[in-house]
Amino acid sequence: MIEIENLHVAVAGKKILDGLTLKVEDGQVAAIMGPNGSGKSTLSYVVAGRADYEVLDGSIRLDGVDILEKSPAERAAMGLFLVFQYPLEIPGVATMTFLKAALNAQRKARGEAELPTIEFMKQVRAAAAKLNISQDMLKRPVNVGFSGGEKKRMEILQMALLEPRFSILDEMDSGLDIDALKTCAEGVNALRGDGRSFLVITHYQRLLNFIPPDVVHVMSRGKIVKSGGPELALALEASGYAEYAEGAAA
């Protein structure tokens, strides 16, 4: 469960999050929608612990533990995962190597033993097959020369392997064709249950057709301005954000 309370955040002296409060229960899928520039990506970076964001006020608790003072790696080991809108390339580092380093780093941080290589390979192969990722791609350097869709599938593969308690998906659907979108959504849905929760950031109902949310939040100007059920997303698709932008300006 993640609880964000009254979060105020500035970047480069500019206030971006302005008293945001949000709670995602265990096992819940929450969608966030909101106009460009409303602060959705900023929120995901702050939760993941990226440097250069100044937290002016408020708190973020993961399963009851305040994580604001924790490093990104510590947060990751606690079960936090971010699907990047633009995954980064790491030349010369084989994807398989990267996956293993990440998985074992998290296990160590949690005081667990390293996964034996054979077991690790088995898990990767199984997860990769489900996402239509070839063995060949796993040998290539992380994300180097991957297409937009391949990069996203690789993000979901990492998520499947790391089995995070809480995942943030920042516009997972951008750059995906219909088939890839389905495959990735299936990857996400396969992880649902077991108390795992998700925050799905998107602009389009289409993604939510594949990953049906339990709740939908509307974000505008750095805070949540309305919350509701799945029907809220459908209403937004029809009428846009005009009413919220005005509401915030008033």
């Binding site: 790696a73 790491i90 030349p91 580092v93 084989a94 941080a109």
Partner: protein, 489 residues
């Protein structure tokens, strides 16, 4: 993969004190008086019971050296060295003459054990060590032991301290010593010629593939002592040898001078693979102490179709001035240079290579990866030259720099000259930075900043690491992680 994991593991176990080899060995030593003059040169020569021609050779070098100026063209900056304030000879007591392991002072054996250098043939034979490597262990000015000499002898390979070779194979030493790096070559090489103490000698007879890796492990221990080793490797026609040198030194607040000369000769169809893992004490984060590493390394592809390949992983030393080069004299000979040079703290590196194409159809390849962190300066300086008669000379150069942080510098200084119009020289260079985004991406997946940096750097240097013999590649990866300690955050 396993190796990268190992790097990650190593980074995790790092303590605050990054340089692991900084301990001192308490052992009685015998030194020549401080300073440099003809007497000292004669003293060193006499200690080693050298023949008259070699004493004279040293004295000629010394005379010449006194007329020379220290080179100042490299992009390095250091206070003037007082050559009279150094010891030029220091030997652990009781190390005269050839020895076997049983004769070696246990304190010295413990030192090499601590450094992770396998000297016990029994253990290696018993399979405690994975692969067999013959080691020549040089401590300050003398070789303390050479392993596997007998077994190598059966294959006709000579592997011994150069001081011993002067006695046992004077004709070979006399024929080849100074034939690649002439006595007059440069200030530091000339100084070395006058006062060189020990180093390794290798001769591989015609048609022999050396049955194991050869390696020399250099250790500077004494204070205020220069190390001037001399290595000479001759691969006779159709032979092959792979050789590795490693080096460390204790932590000391004052700088120490290391001016080595390495000469390689490859005759027809012979191949020499020379790898270096250089980890001299780099000084502290403020630039106090550390080794001045002024080294002349050159290989002569004297025979047709001969090949010399240099691979270096340079992580240590306060100052590195080093250009392992190839003279491509033999027709269709080939030279290679693979380099990883890492600088952190206040280290200054000016390193690169020279590929001198003299013969027809000669080819060369240069892959250089420079990584600068902290407040260090890292320069690649490389020369590719084709002689008028070097028909169809080919060179490919790739020179990449990676910056970590914004207080360090990376520089590339290529000199390219072709006097034959059929030469084809290609040069590629890139400079990149580890981006905050890349680091954050890795950290979000659970890697701590230093693990993330080590992983990214290992990716950057992968092409070169693959050139190292397997077991040294692992060692090199550990070193890379250790030397980047404190470069982030």
């Amino acid at each position: 993969m396993a190796a990268v994991q190992q790097t990650v593991d190593t980074v995790k176990t790092l303590d605050v004190d990054a340089y692991k080899y900084g301990f001192t060995t308490e052992i009685e030593s015998e030194k020549a008086p401080k300073g440099l003059n003809e007497e000292i040169v004669r003293f060193i020569s006499a200690r080693k019971k050298e023949p008259e021609w070699l004493t004279q050779w040293r004295l000629d070098a010394f005379k010449r050296w006194r007329t020379m100026e220290e080179p100042r063209w490299a992009r390095v900056d250091y206070p003037k060295i007082d050559y009279q304030d150094l010891y030029y000879y220091s030997a652990p007591k009781g190390t005269e003459g050839p020895r076997t392991l049983a004769d070696v002072d246990p304190e010295l054996l413990r030192t090499y054990e601590k450094l992770g250098i396998p000297l016990s043939e029994q253990e290696i034979l018993a399979g405690v060590q994975e692969r067999r490597v013959a080691v020549d262990a040089v401590f300050d000015s003398v070789s303390v032991v050479t392993t596997f000499k007998e077994e190598l002898g059966k294959a006709g390979v000579i592997f011994c301290p150069i001081s011993e070779a002067v006695q046992s194979h004077p004709e070979l030493v006399r024929k080849y010593l100074g034939s690649v790096v002439p006595v007059t070559d440069n200030y530091f090489a000339t100084l070395n010629s006058a006062v060189f103490s020990d180093g390794s000698f290798v001769y591989v007879p015609p048609g022999v593939r050396c049955p194991m890796e050869l390696s020399t492990y250099f250790r500077i221990n004494e204070q205020n002592t220069g190390q001037f080793e001399r290595t000479l490797i001759i691969a006779d026609a159709g032979s092959y040898v792979s050789y590795l040198e490693g080096c460390t030194a204790p932590k000391r607040d004052e700088n120490q001078l290391h001016a080595a000369v390495v000469e390689l000769v490859a005759l027809d169809d012979a191949e020499i693979k020379y790898s270096t893992v250089q980890n001299w004490y780099p000084g502290d984060s403020e630039g106090r102490g550390g080794i001045y590493n002024f080294v002349t390394k050159r290989g002569d592809c004297r025979g047709a179709r001969s090949k010399i390949s240099w691979t270096q992983v340079e992580t240590g030393s306060a100052i590195t001035w080093k250009y392992p080069s190839c003279i491509l004299r033999g027709e269709s000979s080939r030279g290679e240079f693979y380099s990883i040079a890492i600088s952190n703290g206040r280290q200054q590196v000016d390193s690169g290579t020279k590929m001198l194409h003299l013969g027809k159809n000669t080819s060369s390849r240069i892959i250089s990866k420079g990584i600068s962190a902290g407040r260090s300066q890292n320069t690649y300086r490389g020369q590719v030259f084709a002689h008028r008669k070097a028909e169809n000379a080919r060179n490919f150069t790739n020179c990449d720099s990676l910056l970590i942080g914004d207080q360090c510098g990376a520089h590339t200084v290529p000199y390219i000259e072709a006097k034959n119009s059929s030469a084809l020289f290609e040069h590629e260079a890139t400079t990149s930075k580890i981006s905050d985004d890349q680091l954050f991406y890795c950290m979000q997946r659970g890697l701590e900043p230093e693990e993330a940096t080590a992983l990214i750097v290992n990716g950057f240097v992968r092409d070169v690491l693959q050139q190292l013999p397997m077991e040294f590649a692992v060692e090199a990866q550990k070193l890379i992680a250790i030397s980047l300690e404190g470069s982030v955050g």
